[in-house]
Amino acid sequence: MPRADYQVVIGLEVHAQLLTTSKLFSGASTSFGGAPNAHTSVVCLGLPGVLPVVNRHAIELAIRAGLALECRIANVSEWSRKHYFYPDLPKGYQVTQYEHPLCLGGRVVFDTPEGEKAVRLTRIHVEEDAGKLVHEGAASLVDLNRAGTPLIEIVSEPELRSADDAVEYLKALRDVLVWVGVNDGNLEEGSFRCDANVSVMKHDATTFGTRCELKNLNSFRFIKQAIEVEAQRHVELLESGGVVEQETRLFDPQRGETRSMRSKEDAHDYRYFPEPDLPPLVLGAGDVDSIREALPELPRARRARYVTSLGLSAYDAQVLTADRAFSDFFERCVAEAHEAKPVANWFMGELSRLLNETNTTVGEVKFSPAQLAALLRAVKDGVISGPGAKEVFAELFATGKDVQVIIDEKGLAQVNDDGPLLLAIEQALAESPKNVESYRGGNTKIVGYFVGQVMKKLGGKGNPKRINELLVEKLKG
């Protein structure tokens, strides 16, 4: 952290890849990997004569992101060309949105040790990604598989004041985007990328310091580290009488430092102008409404509801909403079982453990909410014991068989009828007269021994609660 009399000012620009199957302006596939230039078409190669056609699904996802982040969706937005020369940019320009973006305003809400915070967004716009260069010895090779992939750029106001807050902001933002199915949240594959604008100012200052843009931040750890070392660099510069130059800097995770990539003088003049090959993006009357109506309950709202309506702890609510599909399945099970806490216990315990062990997702689960509810009922009604329930659940998870069938097949049904229970009790008492005497002499704890003996005779299937009751009656004689 920088010196106490300085504060760091951070604005973040996040590029999130939209989860479409085809590119923003062509039918080429967006799948990750593949042989170089396999996922390209004449359009993403920028051949002479090609024209862009907007992928409506990408726009729908961008609007969904905007609504989830409380943005205002512009009825009319505009495409622009942003020009620069680089071999991974086939047309010599990127089609993006400049003067009139799709989403305006909005905010990201996140938790910090000091409580809930909200940072406002400037805008969200839609744009195409560039390809990449692969350097092999003296040669640089161009792979355009990623060129034309749809992105949204989410630009925050410079309202963040610490690297920790920046990381929490990003995690919350990623949670929302993944939750609403807009982005896969993968930092390593670059489908969720962040640039940070960092400056420092004294606490009593009224204007921001000069900012630097940090690039190459591909993990939350690096983001925190990069912001902190950059802020420190600014403070040291200022304190030694120097000035901060506005520039773009690259974070070097090996050395844990930032270094200059492009000075202000070398900054591109992007020569933006409206893209003449695309008409303005005009949304129909019902377009936004229908996307809004289909928007799921968002993670923060759902967590709050789990606490207030379902009576779960904040911790449980957090764990249960870490994944949308997991949480949705939980909801369906609660609806079927009519109680939340036991379902929550199964989800956070056995279900999570088994999903982990088998490396499967909740979408692949073989049992239905009704089957889980049947299992809960069997426990509640004393049909099976606690350990028996775990066995049933494991089988249920593995096969999806009917709960009653599993209980029957495994012979897990408890003996609840007094007749056989009493028979076993009589035998047990008869075999240990000394212990009976001991009990009657005041050693009431010995009842546990008898429960064990009775269970043994019943092959472990006796209802322990009823055995206990009957034993006490008998021992008291």
């Binding site: 051949l47 004569g49 090959d277």
Partner: protein
């Protein structure tokens, strides 16, 4: 046999075959003294001619273009057939796909003979800016056929084919048509797909026909117009109703814009246009003088906006993926600079520099944005005039075809020649040029008709009536 309609009729009547027509056209094209073609696709043309004849034998001929030899300007992509846009930058470039208009002509059964010469990337008014060859005017080989679609115009005027597609960004179909005694139509912006057409200035470019007659031009328009899912700017407007072509001009209101009789205009041209107006009156139309006050800003507006878009559209020619690539660049910068310095000709470089400057930080407001504002005013001029009249009549070019080389050293003088054709592109209107007179030296004089956006029908029927009344015929030198 000269016109497309005549060729179609002869094919339909079985008087000739597509193979025979195509072979004859190819033979003349190979001996062409005017330099119309850059590439002839002899095997491709003969194969489609044979396929057409086979269809016709089986009674499956697909329409008036089936089996008819045509040419395409060399900035219209043809799968597997070299497409250069008249530039060293694309020398030898074989596109992997067809432009939509190419595909539509193929679907209509047309025989595509080859690719015609043009000013590099469509930038010019004389076809002298081609990187490969000069094209001569078939009506007078010492003169320019106009440009940039000069090769297309020459290919039709010299009767090497029965029609051609050109492109028109500021008059590049209409002015060559005027200079070679042809009919040339620039459709409304959005009427014809631009997919697969090498972009010069996207908001101004349109593909359109050059042909001997209005009817032929209409036939070609009909084959290529209409919505294309691959071009987001192509219009959903209904196709042009050709049934009204012969419906006459009685009651038609014709506007004669006073601003189009410019200083320095050839008096023979002005007189011929006024005579054409009188002819329309004699056919039952009314003519009134109208005003398009922002016309005088059209040239400045065009020569800001078109270079801006060109500087952007030509960014892809970087030597990385296709086209000319310099040998042994020592750095990425050298790859870009040398490839582009070697690949582009002087007029293209001039426009890239103009456009880059006009879009650059600190200047974009004064140039690009100001020009967009003026463009809106020019468009509004036409909206207002078209409330009073149905078509606007003027000259296509203020002058007659000039001698080859005459204006080559003076780009500004060359730009001025486009003054009457530019506003149509800026306003997105349909514009047609047809011969309206013969100058004392025998050269054709072109009249331009402009219509409301997507009202090609009225423009075509007016042109049809005028053409019939004037009965002008022009023949190439050498008496082909």
């Amino acid at each position: 046999m000269k016109t497309l309609a005549q060729a179609a009729a002869a094919l339909a009547a079985g008087q000739t075959s597509s193979a025979a027509l195509t072979a004859a056209c190819l033979e003349r094209a190979k001996a062409d003294p005017f330099g119309a073609f850059l590439t002839l696709d002899e095997p491709g043309a003969l194969a489609s001619a044979q396929a057409s004849d086979a269809r016709r034998r089986e009674g499956r001929a697909v329409g008036p273009l089936d089996g008819v030899p045509l040419s395409l300007k060399d900035n219209i992509l043809t799968e597997g057939v070299v497409t250069t846009a008249g530039s060293r930058m694309l020398e030898g470039f074989r596109p992997p796909y067809d432009a939509t208009v190419t595909a539509r002509l193929k679907a209509a059964g047309a025989v595509l003979l080859g690719k015609t010469n043009l000013d590099e990337f469509g930038m010019g008014s004389s076809t002298e800016n081609s990187a490969f060859q000069k094209t001569k005017n078939p009506l007078d080989p010492t003169r320019t056929p106009g440009g940039s679609s000069g090769g297309s115009a020459a290919s039709v005027a010299a009767r090497l084919c029965f029609g051609s597609l050109g492109t028109d960004t500021g008059g590049s179909i209409r002015q060559p048509a005027a200079f070679t005694g042809l009919v040339g139509l620039k459709p409304s912006w959005g009427r014809v797909s631009r997919f697969g057409v090498v972009a010069y200035a996207s908001s101004l470019d349109q593909v359109g026909p050059l042909a001997h007659t209005v009817e032929d031009a209409a036939t070609l328009l009909s084959a290529i117009e209409g919505l294309d899912p691959a071009d987001a700017t192509s219009s959903t407007a209904p196709k042009t109703d050709l049934s009204m072509l012969r419906s006459g001009v009685r009651g038609l209101r014709v506007g004669l814009p006073k601003e189009f009789f410019v200083d320095g205009m050839d008096p023979e041209v002005a007189a011929s246009v006024r005579a054409a107006a009188a002819t329309l009156v004699s056919l039952g139309a009314s003519v009134e003088e109208v005003s398009l006050p922002h016309t005088r800003y059209a040239m400045a507006t065009y020569y800001v906006l078109a270079p801006c878009e060109a500087s952007s559209n030509l960014g892809r020619y970087d030597g990385v993926r296709f086209g000319h690539r310099t040998t042994d660049p020592r750095s990425l910068k050298a790859l870009y600079e040398n490839s582009r310095a070697e690949g582009f000709g002087p007029e293209v470089k001039r426009r890239i520099m103009l456009g880059t400057f006009a879009l650059s930080a600190g200047y974009a407001d004064a140039y690009y944005r100001k020009a967009q504002q003026v463009r809106a005013l020019i468009r509004r001029d036409y909206e207002q005039v078209f409330q009073r009249v149905d078509v606007v009549l003027s000259a296509t070019s203020p002058v007659l075809p000039w001698r080859l080389g005459e204006k080559l050293d003076d780009p500004l003088a060359m730009y001025l020649m486009d003054v009457l054709t530019l506003p149509c592109n800026l306003a997105g209107l349909p514009g047609l040029s047809l011969p309206c007179g013969r100058a004392s030296n025998g050269l054709p004089i072109g009249a331009q008709l402009l219509g409301r956006p997507f009202d090609e029908g009225t423009v075509l029927k007016t042109a049809y009536a005028l053409e019939a009344a004037l009965g002008l015929q022009f023949a190439p030198t050498g008496g082909v």
